[in-house]
């Protein structure tokens, strides 16, 4: 059978286990409603503004560079699997690939795009 059959079985069990665990106390726990209990936790200080408040752009830049370097990791995995058959040709080919990407990385460092203020 397809080697991914166990993955399907475990996926279903994992989600069911997560759902049970997540919903357990909703059924088993008591339900006593008091106003203060349901305010989001602000170390006791009553909430001032709503949760929606601007975040710095740094998170966004990290996510972008994460994608672009993740692609590089995927190509390196592909090369790592076929390394022994490709020999020096593969090594040269991938080092050109990496040189181009390292220039991108150096550019990011010099533009200080990833400096957390």
């Amino acid at each position: 059978m397809n080697p991914y059959l166990p993955v399907l079985v475990v996926l279903v069990f994992g989600i069911v286990l997560g759902a049970i665990l997540s919903a357990l106390s909703f059924f088993m726990g008591p339900k006593r409603w008091t106003k203060e209990k349901y305010d989001p936790y602000e170390c006791g200080v009553p909430m001032v503004t709503s949760a929606a408040e601007r975040m710095s752009v740094k998170f966004y830049l990290t996510a972008i560079l994460f994608i672009l370097f993740d692609i590089e990791t995927v190509f390196l995995y592909l090369w790592a699997v076929s390394f022994h058959q490709l020999g020096w040709f593969g090594v040269v080919e991938v080092s050109v690939f990496m040189i181009i990407l390292v220039t991108g990385y150096v550019y990011v460092l010099r533009r200080r795009a990833l400096d957390w203020d």
Binding site: V57, V74, V81, F97, L101, G104
Partner: protein, 198 residues
């Protein structure tokens, strides 16, 4: 028998999630539906013995690109209710369904019978497993027959790095209105921007 049932089950889930991605109001909801959609598409790839692509689909798409979408949505703190009128109205959904079914029917009528010619026919399942597994076969194919596209892919990634860093930086040239003609206008621009992000 079971592979038919499995295919139709996965296909139904894929279509359901794709519809929900397009129709749902809150962008984060549609992002999460996109993740489940990608999960089922990677299940489809695994069913077709494209094991490497199934892993890549989850790793790159669901684990990186849609994370970027969720980050941007949280960064611009889009709320569902802010997007009044952003929902798809019922007639639009109707147009979607009619055009989709129509296209399929017309394609069937014109006798489009899917892909039947053109492949080199070497890589049957047995050949792939004999050659050392799907990942190894794809890797050899990529590094031997697609050398130039592989190098150009890295140039494309470099270009994307430079572009996104230039456009998205806080004081980048583009977003601070320097590109516009008169500096005074730039200041006005700044005023408007401040007002804009209330």
């Amino acid at each position: 028998m079971i592979s038919y049932a499995l295919f139709y089950l996965i296909a139904a889930f894929i279509l359901l999630c794709s519809m929900m991605v397009v129709v749902s109001r809150n962008p984060v909801t549609s992002a999460i539906f996109l993740v489940t959609d990608l999960f089922f598409i990677s299940a489809l790839f695994a069913k077709m013995n494209a094991h490497f692509l199934a892993a890549i689909q989850i790793l790159l798409y669901a684990g990186a690109i849609v994370v970027l979408f969720v980050f941007v949505i949280m960064l611009l703190n889009l709320k569902a209710e802010e997007l009044k009128g952003a929902r798809m109205t019922v007639p639009e959904i109707g147009v979607l369904i009619v055009s989709a079914i129509g296209f399929v029917v017309i394609a069937a009528l014109l006798g489009a019978d899917g892909a039947t010619t053109g492949g080199d026919g070497r890589w049957t399942d047995e050949a792939i497993t004999a050659a050392g597994g799907n990942t190894f076969a794809v890797a050899m194919r990529l590094f031997v027959n697609f050398v130039w596209p592989f190098e150009l892919a890295s140039v494309l990634i470099l270009l994307a790095i430079v572009a996104s860093v230039v456009i998205a930086r806080k004081d980048s040239l583009v977003s601070s209105g320097v590109g516009s003609t008169a500096p005074a206008q730039g200041k006005g621009e700044k005023g408007k921007v401040a007002h804009g992000t209330r």
